[in-house]
């Protein structure tokens, strides 16, 4: 089940529009006038007056109501002085926007936004509109809209709605929505003056973790005048708390996994360049940054929903080319001199950062999240954010592909051969210089791919790389240099450990504790979790 914040209004609005399409056309002229009058009032009204006007609008029978209310909630309803009427902006652009007349829907061309005066909605008004629109979807054929309608009722339970909910409960085919309906009715009963009604209602509400239900229950448990009701509410709450506790643990585990997968993504490219080749590449973070900027560029040309699948190979290519250029231009002269490599690549990282500042400006770029990656999904009882879930999956995919590339391809074989014994590999006819360049390109390309994932989580700006470089090295060193599996295990365990510590110690201390643990661990096992054995380890 997917629920998206802005989706709710949009869908129910659509349903409302469909409903009102059937309104007879003959009365429209008169209706238009009435609507104009209300809209004219809306412009001058205070927020509380606006709330009344919105209720008036909802009760009006006019095909444009849904569009107008949606626009008001989204901040797209304007007043145009020139034509003396309310207009709807059809785009969120900051400057020039196409508009249409609010009442007739007639297109009015493109205007400068500063010539329009926005009819402002505040949070309370927006919630009201959302609820009003949602509650109309109770008899919709789409279970999602029905659920939204019941949820809207939960947010502001009113006795007037009870009869409709009861009627719906009789015919509702969906089991989950049935349960929700029952809970909604119990919530109304909880406010009943009769203690004999309140007590069973409180009992029925146990186990519901939603704030809309748990909140009133908490109040009743603390403040109700009747002892049996208080007891019932407390027992019900105990059930809720137990569920919440379990959910909390599951949630922490998922958070840890998802942080872990981000760490792995950031570190896995480094595991190739640092781990396999032994190059300390301080510009690794900037290669991720390049990947993230590639994503942004793709979004300038392609619709947001399609941009990511295109951005992944593109980011790989761009970052890999930059990586190869760095290897051929600088690093190959410095093999075997780790300190110089470190300094040189640090310099490169600064150059790349400032280059991005000059080309794209120092301001962050806004990378939009595609629809299929926003919102939450229910995994059993656990609500999981979709973007994190996608990134966990993406991490597994990248890891598998890289592993296959190293284990099953000719290049992989050569890479491993050169890493294990360069002289011997060369004697066997492996062109080690070419292999070095390609390996570095591979590691850099993977960093670019990680950048695509990061663009969905954090700022796309010149500093993106810096924020991840320390973490990446941490993961690789902890996992054991030169071992992909080590990187995987290290990333996951650091992620989970961080998330387990965080609620208990706070984010700042959690980071410090993990770092201290790592330092102590490296003292004990300098080669990490899974050290390379054999001759390669000595090189």
């Amino acid at each position: 089940m997917v629920s998206r914040p802005s989706f709710r209004v949009g869908l129910t609005g659509l349903a409302l529009m469909l409903l009102t399409l059937f309104a007879p056309l003959s009365v429209q002229a008169a209706d238009d006038e009435a609507l104009r009058a209300v809209l004219a009032q809306l412009r001058e009204a205070s927020f509380s007056e606006k709330a009344t006007l919105v209720e008036t609008l909802v009760n009006m029978d006019h095909p444009r109501i849904a569009a107008i209310l949606n626009a008001l909630a989204a901040g797209n309803l304007y007043y145009q002085e020139k034509s003396n009427q309310a207009v709807i902006s059809l785009s969120d652009e900051a400057e020039e926007v196409p508009i249409e007349a609010a009442v007739t829907g007639e297109a009015l061309g493109t205007v400068t936004k500063r010539d329009l005066e926005r009819i402002i909605a505040n949070n309370r008004l927006r919630a009201l509109i959302e609820n009003q629109l949602a509650s109309l979807g109770l008899s919709s054929a789409d279970p999602q809209q029905r659920r939204a309608a019941v949820e809207a009722f939960l947010r502001s339970p009113k006795p007037e709605g009870v009869s409709r909910l009861k009627a719906r409960l009789e015919v509702e085919p969906d089991k989950k929505i049935q349960e929700l309906l029952t809970a909604a009715l119990a919530l109304v009963d909880l406010a009943s003056p009769d203690a004999a009604v309140r007590a069973p209602a409180a009992k029925a509400l146990g186990g519901w973790t939603q704030a809309e239900i748990r909140g009133p229950l908490l109040r009743v448990a603390a403040e109700d005048s009747d002892l049996t009701v208080r007891e019932a509410a407390k027992a019900a709450l105990a059930k809720t708390e137990f569920r919440l506790q379990l959910l909390g643990w599951a949630e922490t585990l998922f958070f840890g996994l998802s942080l872990g997968s981000v760490l792995i993504l950031a570190a896995i490219g480094l595991a190739v360049t640092f781990g396999v080749m032994g190059v300390i590449n301080m510009a690794h973070g900037e290669l991720m940054m390049i990947g993230a900027y590639t994503t942004w560029l793709t979004q300038q040309w392609l619709p947001v929903n399609w941009s990511l699948p295109v951005a992944v190979p593109l980011a790989f290519l761009v970052a890999a080319l930059v990586g190869i250029a760095i290897e051929r231009g600088v690093i190959r002269f410095l093999y075997g001199r780790p300190l110089e490599t470190l300094l040189a690549t640090f310099g490169i990282s600064l150059i790349l950062q400032q280059a991005v500042r000059s080309i794209f400006s120092p301001l962050n770029r806004s990378v939009a999240t595609p629809d299929w990656m926003s919102g939450t999904i229910l995994l059993g009882p656990l609500e999981v954010t979709l973007n994190r879930l996608v990134i966990v999956g993406f991490c597994i995919a990248v890891f598998t592909l890289l592993w296959l590339a190293l284990q099953r391809t000719r290049l992989g074989l050569e890479v491993r051969a050169v890493a294990q014994n360069r002289a011997m590999a060369r004697a066997m006819g492996v062109r080690s210089a070419r292999v070095d360049a390609l390996t570095f390109g591979l590691g850099s390309g993977i960093a670019g791919v990680a950048g695509v994932a990061l663009s969905q989580l954090t700022n796309v700006g010149p500093n993106l790389g810096q924020n991840y470089i320390v973490d990446s090295f941490m993961v690789v060193v902890f996992g054991g240099v030169g071992n992909l599996w080590g990187t995987m295990v290290a990333g996951l365990s650091l992620g989970v450990a961080n998330k387990l510590l965080e609620p208990w110690s706070g984010a700042v201390l959690a980071k410090i504790l993990v770092l201290i643990f790592l330092i102590l661990f490296i003292q004990k096992r300098p080669r990490g979790l899974f050290p390379q054995r054999g001759r390669a380890a000595e090189v």
Binding site: A94, K113, R126, T369, T376, P503, G506
Partner: protein
């Protein structure tokens, strides 16, 4: 995007030219130092302010300069490096002999240059909202003090939105810590209980907000209306807001009011999931006012990009710069001592329809506006203070500072930290 390359180059050229011009005829111009980071982490916010000052100087020169002389910008780059701020400030004052400096963003950079300005008797205009608890003779604070931003915002949440439970979330450094201390004391004075306040600090650039947002969600589901008061700084805001949107917390459930998120920061975010979250500032680009329209037009012409936004610290520089011009005209000299004395009491119209006045404590009178984020990255004003609020350097809600006042105009006090109980000035200069 590639269009910006020539622009940057032209800046470099302009910078080089100014340096050249400096050497040529030093006495013919009045020099204005610009001390904003153009590289490093803070470049994201500070570059815009450098451009603003250059625009203001340009404008003043078109009007014929000041005291019959042309103004000349001396731009340096402290590179988001706090000790470097002090070095560059010294360079500006001693080597370039600038008459005034506009600069700094973070509190730590201000604290780092403060001794330099006091030692060399320079003038600094500091344009960003900050934590207060400071008043130097050599600094003019054109941004908001806590009582001009944080306290009114909390009042709005409490009285107009009926908030009963509070999350104070901030980045772990001096501004959020001090502001939250003030807010906590204020909330408790208003009868909010300990259990209804949750305080959370995160490191700079924190990017994994999952568990903190989940905690906020849990904290907010206890049946009382909850709000987040955010002093989260800079880059960390984007992932924070993204996580809020992803976990389905909309502004109608738990509103977030931010003190460090403005139009500039929002231009790097997809704002659709954020509609309705709040920010408290003394200026919004969306405010309808003739002066504001003219300022925005001027900015767009100067920067040659119609998509660029204006924000609160830019207005602060606009007011500060014009006040300095008036003070120099009044003193008929750029001598720091004369200008500093002339500054107090100067009035200049702000961009939202009021008049800013420089107070004896070197802070301004400002209106406080609460805005809600819109889908186009702008804010709509949903509430504003009745009149202008005078900036208070020393908070009335902290035990250590409530008896302290700053007054640089009264010859009997002439001090930045005068204790009204002991009738004494503590030894420091600020």
């Amino acid at each position: 995007m590639t269009k910006t390359v020539p622009k940057t180059l032209s800046w470099l050229l302009a910078g080089a030219l100014t340096v050249g011009a400096t050497l040529a005829h030093a006495a013919d111009t009045i020099k204005v130092g610009v001390l904003h980071s153009l590289s490093g982490t803070m470049a994201i916010s500070e570059t815009t302010l450098k451009d603003t000052v250059l625009m203001l100087i340009d404008e003043q020169n078109k009007k014929g300069g000041l005291l019959g002389k042309k103004l000349e910008a001396v731009v340096v780059d402290p590179a988001s490096n706090w000790p470097l701020f002090a070095e560059k400030a010294r360079e500006l004052l001693q080597k370039d002999k600038v008459d005034v400096v506009f600069g700094c963003w973070t509190s730590v950079s201000r604290k780092s240059v403060l001794p330099v300005f006091e030692e060399l008797n320079g003038i600094l205009f500091y344009p960003v909202q900050y934590e207060g608890e400071e008043s130097s003779r050599n600094v003019f604070y054109t941004g908001a003090a806590p009582n001009q931003q944080a306290i009114p915002a909390v009042d709005y949440l409490m009285n107009d939105l009926g908030i009963e439970r509070w999350v104070l979330a901030g980045t772990d450094y001096v501004y959020p810590r001090t502001t939250n201390k003030i807010l906590e004391a204020y909330l408790k004075a208003k009868g909010v209980k300990d259990v209804d306040i949750m305080i959370n600090y995160t490191p700079f650039g924190h990017s994994d907000w999952q568990s903190i947002v989940a905690d906020i969600k849990k904290f907010g589901s206890a049946g009382k209306k909850t709000a987040v008061v955010s002093t989260i700084n800079g880059d960390a805001n984007v992932p924070f807001y993204k996580e809020l949107g992803n976990q389905g917390i909309s502004a109608t459930d738990i509103p977030v009011v931010a003190f460090s998120v403005g139009e500039e920061e929002l231009s790097g975010i997809d704002t659709k999931p954020l509609v309705g979250h709040l920010a408290a500032w003394n200026y919004f680009m969306s405010v309808k006012d003739k002066a504001n329209d003219a300022f925005i037009k001027q900015w767009h012409t100067f920067i040659k990009d119609k998509k660029r936004v204006t924000n609160d610290p830019m207005e602060a520089h606009y007011i500060g710069f014009n006040m300095w011009v008036k003070a120099v005209e009044k003193a008929k000299s750029t001598d720091p001592d004369k200008v500093i004395d002339a500054m107090v009491g100067i009035e200049y119209p702000n961009l939202t329809g009021g008049v800013a006045k420089m107070l004896p404590n070197h802070h301004l009178t400002k209106p406080v506006l609460i805005g809600e984020i819109q889908a186009d990255g702008q804010f709509d004003v949903v509430w504003k203070t009745k009149g202008l609020v005078p900036g208070d350097a020393w908070s009335d809600y902290l035990p250590g500072s409530k008896d302290i006042i700053a007054d640089w105009a009264d010859p009997k006090i002439h001090c930045g930290n005068y204790n009204t109980v002991t009738k004494k000035c503590s030894g420091q200069n600020y």
